[in-house]
Amino acid sequence: MHNNLIQIENLHKRFNDLPVLNGVNLSIGKGESIVVIGQSGCGKSVLLKHLIRLMEPDEGRVFFDGENIAEFMGDSLVSFRRRFGMLFQSAALFDSLTVAQNVGLGLKESRRFKDEQIDEIVIEKLEMVGLASSADKYPAELSGGMRKRVGLARAIANNPEVLLYDEPTTGLDPITADIINDLIVELNTRLKVTSVAVTHDMKSAFKIADRIVMLYEGRIEFDATPDAVRTTDNPVVKQFITGQARGPIQVR
């Protein structure tokens, strides 16, 4: 039995009167690897951003380690966020900084490490993602897959307890996508972190998840192990994982 690290209660979010999250309830245990699946634009990334308070809910609460994250302010918000690492959909690397500076930025700005320590950590993390030789390159010189790997190295630089992955394999070729998946599995087991990934790539979901959650019409439609997802009779989940145009899911 997992202890709940993250607890989402009745989360609502609207954009321009259009409901995106419509009462999401979800518990995430310590050390679990959860994958949230769902159609493009169904609110997966919005849900992920609420976990680290990059967005504020219209209604509902998110608890982290038993504390309501809406109550964090100033320094407590900074310390809370430092317990997370996040890989963004477009990797979100800083164009004006080199790969090494990107990975070390959070450490440098936290003022808890000396420059030599930061250099060591940066090289260690870049070696973990196989990019130590690209430390002095700029993001514009890297391919999509390399940028994601730098994004991963940056996400783990701070030794976070929770890793959030926003569409980690989107826009990559199948082989590079698989390399990223392997890397995520390796990092999750090696660093023993809790991880939450959102994706619509089912191959990736089956590979990295302990538990798969499907978001549909702003709510959690299905919550089960990957094996149970494969064999389910739920028509919504079935349509999604088999990629059928016809079925209960209407494409807007």
Partner: protein, 259 residues
């Protein structure tokens, strides 16, 4: 009819939203000033990008501003029969009190304000600002404070340069084109020079710098919807900065230069 009323209402709400947003960002900028000592590297980088790199453009426009002021003044003097020994007086006053601060600020809004809005806006739509937040780095301290501070410091310094160069431009045209001597031009300028005018011009420049930095950052932060959004923010930042500069210039004219 209903559409018209709705449109006015929406514009009104937008205006209030923007004004409130600018005030909040200004407050957060002042709070972030406490972190100036630890952000010196970022601040000096912006001093260079925003200030030093604007110098060539400011020099070019100042030469022509001074030159055309002298030429137009001489033309009007001839028309009304005023003595040309007042040309230095006229050029000096016009440049120091109005032309240098206002034209430099307008050009600066186009070059620097647009650049800030485009850079911050691109960072917003590519999730780089979210990435800063997710790492516990305050984007106002990391991005906004160094940029606004650089505008605050650099616009008055550039206006100083502009004052000097525009007057030199006026002098050259007066000597070569209007055919008065350097001594006549300079004595007219010296006799009319008041330190208060010069100081008031710099106070205006300080406020214009604040407007340009603040509006550029704010419009950048408001950016949505990809490349189109970045384009819109860039345009908005220039338009809003220019309008505010001219409105505040009028307010300053009433307060600082009483009839």
């Amino acid at each position: 009819m209903e559409y018209g009323v709705q449109s006015i209402g929406r514009r009104g709400v937008n205006f209030i939203n923007r004004t409130g947003g600018l005030c909040i960002l200004l407050g957060r900028f002042f709070v972030a000033l406490k972190d100036v000592p630890r952000s010196m590297g970022l601040i000096f980088e912006q001093f260079y990008i925003i200030g030093v790199k604007s110098l060539p453009l400011i020099i070019i426009i100042s030469i022509f501003v001074g030159a055309v002021t002298a030429w137009q003044a001489a033309y009007q003097f001839k028309f009304i029969g005023a003595p040309l020994r007042y040309l230095g007086h006229m050029v000096g006053k016009a440049v120091i009190m109005e032309l240098s601060p206002v034209l430099s600020a307008l050009v600066f809004a186009g070059r620097v304000g647009a650049g800030i809005a485009a850079e911050v806006g691109t960072m917003k739509v590519t999730e780089q600002i979210d990435a800063l937040d997710s790492m516990g780095i305050n984007p106002v301290r990391y991005l906004v404070m160094p940029r606004i501070l650089a505008c605050l410091v650099m616009v008055p310094i550039l206006v100083l340069f502009s004052d000097f160069i525009a007057i030199m431009g006026g002098l050259v045209i007066s000597v070569l084109g209007v055919d008065i001597s350097t001594e006549t031009f300079m004595s007219g300028f010296r006799d009319s020079f008041k330190l208060a005018d010069f100081r008031n011009g710099l106070i205006k420049a300080l406020v214009f710098g604040l407007i340009i930095g603040l509006v550029g950052c704010y419009e950048g932060f408001r950016t949505r919807e990809g490349a189109v959004g970045v384009g819109r923010s860039t345009t908005n930042s220039v338009v809003i900065s220019c309008v505010l500069i001219l409105v505040f210039n009028f307010i300053f004219a009433i307060i600082l230069f009483r009839l």
